[in-house]
Amino acid sequence: MKSVIEIAHAVRHGQISAMQMVDQCLSGLAAGDRQLGAVTRVLAERARGEAAQVDALVAAGRDPGPLAGVPYGVKDLFDVAGLPTTAGSSLYADAPPASRDAEAIERLRAAGAILVATLNMDEFAYGFATINARHGTTRNPHALERLAGGSSGGSAAVVAAGLLPFALGSDTNGSVRVPASLTGVYGLKPTHGALPMRGVFPFAKSFDDVGPFARSTRDLRLICGVLQGIAMAEPRARSLRVARLGGRFCDNVDADFSAALATIAPGAPVVDLPEIARARSAAFLIAAYEGGHLHRDALARDAMAFDPATRDRLLAGALLPSGLNHAAQDFCNEFKQLVGKLIVDYDVLLAPSAPCVAPLIEDPLILIDGARRPARSDLGIHTQPISFAGLPSLAVPLRRPGRLPLGMQLIGRPGDEASLFGFAAMLEENGVIGWSPPPGVLQGNHQ
């Protein structure tokens, strides 16, 4: 499948109709998703309706928008008008349908993009694995026996496999960056609150953000511009002040990542963020508390109706005392101030997105500090403290064709996503980062 920019260009100039694009996309999704298990609902009728509207605008000589005819999917927690918002749970399978689209979808539609599918996730976005009792486990396009990561695993997998040019996910503790790293695509966790959250099923409101996945910096920048309502500026040719995050960000890291980092930023200073262990623990506690309390009434009514994979975690979160949540929130405010002062002299901070390559589905455990820990809860070890600080973070794939993907976080100051895109564009141009087509059965989908 072509890139976002190529598709929009072709549709805007009448080289292909939006309807043809949607039909191609739907047949590709039907074939490709058999192996992945990434799609939860195909919205063919709606997609064709939106495509007809785009084609009518093109035919009338009117501007169909910067994303004209570009098909995309959304994680199963965005409101889609006329459908129940399930958040990946069978509990909400028969919920009343949403009366209108989520704001992010409305903005994309106004820009000409066409929604074709909803995508798999960990139930209620609680996990880094996309193992879902209702929809199954989403597989990694680079190795079908491995996890795609989560909780936005379906969104990452369809983009990585070339079945859709972009998709939306959400990131509370790393749910965009972890699957982006494991599947080898780009994913943005914006500055907290920068992208529209209306119509998105919450997990932990203190950290919830929406974020897009794409296969290039340029595609991702265009989508972010549409989502935030202001086109992002072209990266300026200026020297960016880059540093590497040290301390806990150097532990539990794949050796290949350390080697790549030495090449990318050999002389970069190392910034040690203090209290990282406390930050991660506080983030863990707040997410558990807010997630558990959000579902407490439903858990009290019928806990067994929840996905077994998230049920016990939510129950435990619901039993957490509010005193702990207050203590964690107090520390969060201190931490943000502390980090703000430490990073004021840098434009981009480099850190791993995940501690390792995609774990095996059969053995979903990873090594953390020498102990085997559940991937579902611990893959976010390097992303959680960044969400905690409310910083923007762009996950980019290290360029390593034929090998399992590994991602890197480009972290910036609040509101300065532009520097992250600028640095990513430079690395991409130098061939250091970039999407690599998955090998094997799914290769036929790439054009």
Binding site: A288, A303, D312, P321, S322, S377
Partner: protein
């Protein structure tokens, strides 16, 4: 034992006064010319009572709390649809087994509006949504002034001097209640402040009026031989039917609250406002709606039901309060529960049950959270 003592102490002094008046009317029933004077005074008392009801009703409270329309619709549905339906079913079920006039009284009580003061008081004790309770109960009373006489006309067939003979009489009766009510309500801008400031002084007027109506009604009933027509068995049957009715309505409302996923605070409002019936409205309405000889028997079920609902609601409100305080206690701490027994206790305090199959997973997750809590609180430098 202690609880039984508390229940005894929770007898409403007003109810004791009511029983005393019933006793006085039984021993010294007013008759002849004096009965005419007492009857006229009772009519005047009803007028005064509805005038005061109208003046006390705050439209602002209704407008302010009107946003929660789903809850108010449920309360009104319970008061004016569910209750009458349950009353009809219950009366049909026991038809022929008891005094027909008492059964009419039982059906009559199901057509009445909800209480205002005690619904709000119990909601406050139970830590429910007090603002919504004020709105719901006020709305129920406002609607009741129109609906109750209509429902009485539709559903109650009273023979022998019954005043419910035609729509004309219903309209007249409604106007007898409605006019003073509306007069009081529309004069509220002028006298509302005075009434709100002097609630303590006005309460005796309010309650004195009811006592006068009851005395008048029971005097007529005694002269017509009420105590030869009502046996202890009848009273026990009434108590049992009242208990069944209350249990049915409360159980149904609690189930609806859970199905509708009402927040706990709103579920308490539905339970208390939707399951209660107003003695303060019911006695004078009966005085206006029924023949003097029938009023005593008709209000007897209401008096029994009223005391029962006070007992049950007082006990439930205390239970909800204890539950709410336990949640506060559980949440105020920084300690995470350990072991199945402690976890079960914490969950119970929060109104939850941990399924047996989940306990190992919950224990493991709480242990993980505790490690994070230790890191956060600096009791452990690892992590």
């Amino acid at each position: 034992m202690v609880r039984s003592m508390k229940l005894l102490l929770s007898w409403d002094p007003f109810l004791i006064a009511l029983i005393a008046v019933v006793g006085a009317a039984s021993l010294f029933p007013v008759s002849g010319v004096a009965a005419g004077w007492v009857g006229a005074a009772a009519d005047l008392a009803i007028t005064l009572l509805f005038f005061l009801h109208g003046a006390k009703l705050s439209r602002a409270a209704i407008v302010q709390g009107a946003g929660n329309w789903r809850l108010h619709a449920m309360v009104l549905g319970s008061t004016y649809i569910l209750f009458p339906a349950a009353g009809l079913a219950l009366v049909a079920l026991v038809q022929g087994w008891g005094n027909p006039l008492l059964l009419s009284g039982l059906l009559y009580l199901t057509l009445l509006p909800s209480t205002v003061q005690s619904s709000i008081a119990f909601t406050a004790i139970a830590r429910g949504n007090v603002a919504a309770a004020v709105c719901s109960a006020s709305l129920s009373n406002l609607v009741g002034i129109f609906i109750t006489p209509l429902l009485v006309g539709l559903l109650l067939q009273i023979e022998a001097n019954g005043t419910i003979s035609s729509w004309q009489s219903i309209r007249t009766i409604a106007l007898q209640l409605l006019l003073p009510f509306l007069a009081g309500h529309f004069l509220r801008p002028l006298i509302g402040g005075l009434i709100d400031r002097n609630k303590a002084i006005l309460q005796p007027v309010d309650r004195g009026s009811i006592l006068l109506v009851v005395y008048s009604a029971f005097s007529a009933a005694v002269i017509n031989g009420i105590w030869s027509r009502v046996s202890l068995g009848d009273l026990l049957e009434l108590l049992a039917l009242s208990a069944v009715l209350l249990a049915l309505i409360m159980g149904f409302n609690w189930g609806v609250a859970r199905l509708a996923k009402l927040p706990r605070e709103d579920a308490i409002v539905l339970l208390f406002c939707g399951s209660k019936k107003s003695l303060v409205s019911g006695v004078p309405m009966a005085g206006a709606l029924f023949a003097p000889s029938q009023v005593g028997l008709v209000v007897l079920p209401l008096m029994i039901f009223h005391q029962l609902q006070l007992f049950v609601c007082a006990a439930l409100a205390s239970h909800f309060r204890r539950q709410s305080e336990a949640v506060d206690d559980a949440e105020a701490t920084l300690a995470i529960s350990h072991g199945a027994q402690q976890i079960d206790a914490t969950a119970a305090a929060l109104g939850m049950t941990i399924p047996e199959a989940c306990m190992p997973g919950v224990e493991a997750n709480l242990a993980l959270l505790e490690r994070h809590a230790e890191t956060l609180l600096r009791r452990d430098d690892a992590g």
